[in-house]
Structure formats: structure tokens, C-alpha cells
């Protein structure tokens, strides 16, 4: 896949000294809110912490900020991508990251949420919580490795 007829040289992200790093900071703040709030639920599902309330309560408590984080990364991410689409499209680490991101988003708002909202998540909760933490961590790793592969 090639982005023909699009010259990123005129993209403000490449002409303005501040635009790119500002997007990166928003991306980091965004994923910290997104993943941090999901981890709060995961710790409860794993049974290691946050035991003063149920996983269902924690999902409801954190949901608006999880969504806030998701919105921030889904705005800043495509902007960063637009600075050099052909470079990113051919980067193996980027491809892995996007695949995992799509899976993690679907997983979080379907199975993860369903199990967390159930009255007694039990051992199923622990499995889902563990998978969730590993998936999100792998996305951060893949994001960093874009610059190193």
C-alpha cells in the first residue's frame, strides 16, 4: 500500500518545530489515561488490588477517562502517522502495533467489559485481566520499536 500523490513535506507536523513533539506528548498522556484506567480494573480482576469495590464498580468509575484516553490517542496517533505514512505502513512494528490495538480495543469493550461487569468474575476474570495487561503492554513496546526496527 502506497500513499501516492501525498507529499508529507508540506504537512504542518513536518514544517512546525513544535507540532510533532506536542502530538507525541498528547499520545503519551492519552495512552497513560487509557491503559492506566484499564489496569485499575485488571488489578481487581486479577484479585491483587482495588478490593474495596467490585470490578463492575471500577469499570463504571473509570469508563469516562478510559474513553478520554482512547480519544486522545486516536487523534494524536493518526496525526503522527500523517507525518510519514509510507514509512509507517512499511514498518513491521507499526503493523503489529495496529493489529494489536484493534484487537485490544475490541477485547476491552466486549469480553473484558462483559466479564468485569458480571457479578462474579472469578478465575475467568483473572485470565481476562492478565490478557488485557499483556495486550496493552505489547502495544507500547511495539510503538517504541517502530523507531528501532
Amino acid at each position: 500500500m502506497q500513499f501516492e500523490g501525498y507529499d508529507p513535506a508540506n504537512n504542518p507536523l513536518n514544517t512546525n518545530e513544535w507540532a510533532f513533539p506536542v502530538c507525541e506528548v498528547l499520545h503519551i498522556v492519552g495512552f497513560a489515561m487509557l491503559i492506566g484506567t484499564i489496569t485499575i480494573v485488571d488489578l481487581r480482576l486479577l484479585g491483587v488490588g482495588m478490593k474495596r469495590q467490585s470490578a463492575a464498580d471500577l469499570v463504571k468509575d473509570t469508563a469516562p477517562w478510559t474513553l478520554f484516553g482512547l480519544v486522545l490517542v486516536l487523534i494524536s496517533g493518526p496525526l503522527i502517522f500523517s507525518s510519514d505514512p509510507n514509512l509507517y505502513m512499511h514498518n513491521q512494528s507499526f503493523r503489529f502495533k495496529i493489529t494489536m490495538l484493534i484487537l485490544a480495543i475490541i477485547f476491552n469493550w466486549t469480553l473484558h467489559r462483559k466479564v468485569a461487569m458480571s457479578p462474579n468474575p472469578g478465575s475467568m476474570g483473572a485470565v481476562v485481566g492478565g490478557i488485557s495487561m499483556l495486550m496493552w503492554a505489547s502495544i507500547i513496546f511495539a510503538g517504541i520499536f517502530i523507531a528501532f526496527v
Binding site: 506528548v25 497513560a32 492506566g36 474495596r52 484516553g69 503492554a137
Partner: protein, 169 residues
């Protein structure tokens, strides 16, 4: 001994050189540094946002703070250890960078924030819960905390964009 020479000698140590020159060690430690922020940076924000009345308002402030505390400490330890290792491995390269010094200054302010506000704010959240709202000082501490955390991320990112002046002959 001047500081730059000291940084050179830190960076020249065996383990620092092997991290700097490894194509895997550096990005893996950097990923762990960011994973620490991802997992636990959001938790710092949640405590601050709770104090500001913007998140988890159904839970008492003391509950939110006390339950998240051990994980924030774990995360901070991971982030600081990885950060220190990365800084050590390129000490002489980072030291002249003004954004690196800015980041160190921010870290100093984080320590100061903890020292100043621990008693009047973070250990007093139970008292504030009794009145159902946080004090002005607590809100101030929460805003400063959020500001410092974003400043740390910003300074960290800008380290990578500063170019050392080239010597002119």
C-alpha cells in the same frame, strides 16, 4: 572534576557501553520506561482527578488514594530505574541537553511536592471525606501534580529533539 568529564566516565563504564551499543537493550528498557508510565501514570492522574472531583466521585478520596498507592510506587520505581539506566548509558550525551536538565529539575519538584503535600493533603484525605469535599490546598496539590507529570513527559520527549551545537572551526 568538572561534571561533563564525570558524565563521560559514567557513560564509559562497561554496562553503560553495552546498553548504549546494543540494538535490543536500549529499546527494551525504553519500552519498559513507557510501559511503567502507561500502567501507572494514569493512576496518578486518577488520584488527582478524584481530588478535583472529576473522577471516581462515588469512592471516598482516601479509598482511591490508599488502594492505588502501592501500584503507583511500584510504577514509579520501574520508571525511575529504567530512566536512570537509560540516562547513565548516554550520560555525556544527555548532560549538555537543556531538556534533560529540565527533566531533572521536574523530578526534584516531584520530590518537593511529595514532601510538602504528603501531610496536609494525602494523609488527610480521610478527614476531607468526612466533609464530602477536598480543601483548596488539596486541589492546588492535585493541579500541580498533573502539571508536573505532563511537564516530565514533555521534557522527556523534547530531549530527543535538541541538537547539540556543532563546534565551528
Amino acid at each position: 572534576m568538572d561534571l561533563q568529564a564525570f558524565m563521560e566516565s559514567l557513560q564509559a563504564m562497561g554496562f553503560a557501553t553495552s546498553i548504549r551499543e546494543s540494538s535490543l537493550a536500549y529499546p527494551i528498557i525504553l519500552s519498559l520506561h513507557l510501559t511503567g508510565m502507561g500502567l501507572f501514570g494514569g493512576m496518578i492522574a486518577m488520584t488527582d482527578l478524584r481530588i478535583l472531583g472529576l473522577a471516581m466521585t462515588k469512592r471516598p478520596m482516601a479509598d482511591v488514594h490508599n488502594q492505588l498507592r502501592p501500584y503507583k510506587h511500584l510504577g514509579l520505581t520501574l520508571v525511575v530505574l529504567c530512566g536512570l539506566t537509560l540516562a547513565w548509558s548516554k550520560a555525556a550525551i544527555y548532560w549538555p541537553n537543556p531538556f534533560f536538565k529540565m527533566k531533572l529539575a521536574c523530578l526534584g519538584l516531584v520530590a518537593l511536592h511529595a514532601l510538602v503535600f504528603r501531610g496536609p493533603v494525602y494523609k488527610s484525605l480521610g478527614e476531607m471525606d468526612k466533609f464530602g469535599k477536598s480543601t483548596t490546598v488539596a486541589k492546588f496539590a492535585a493541579i500541580i501534580s498533573l502539571f508536573l507529570w505532563i511537564s516530565l513527559v514533555g521534557a522527556g520527549r523534547w530531549i530527543g529533539y535538541w541538537e547539540a551545537p556543532q563546534p565551528t572551526f
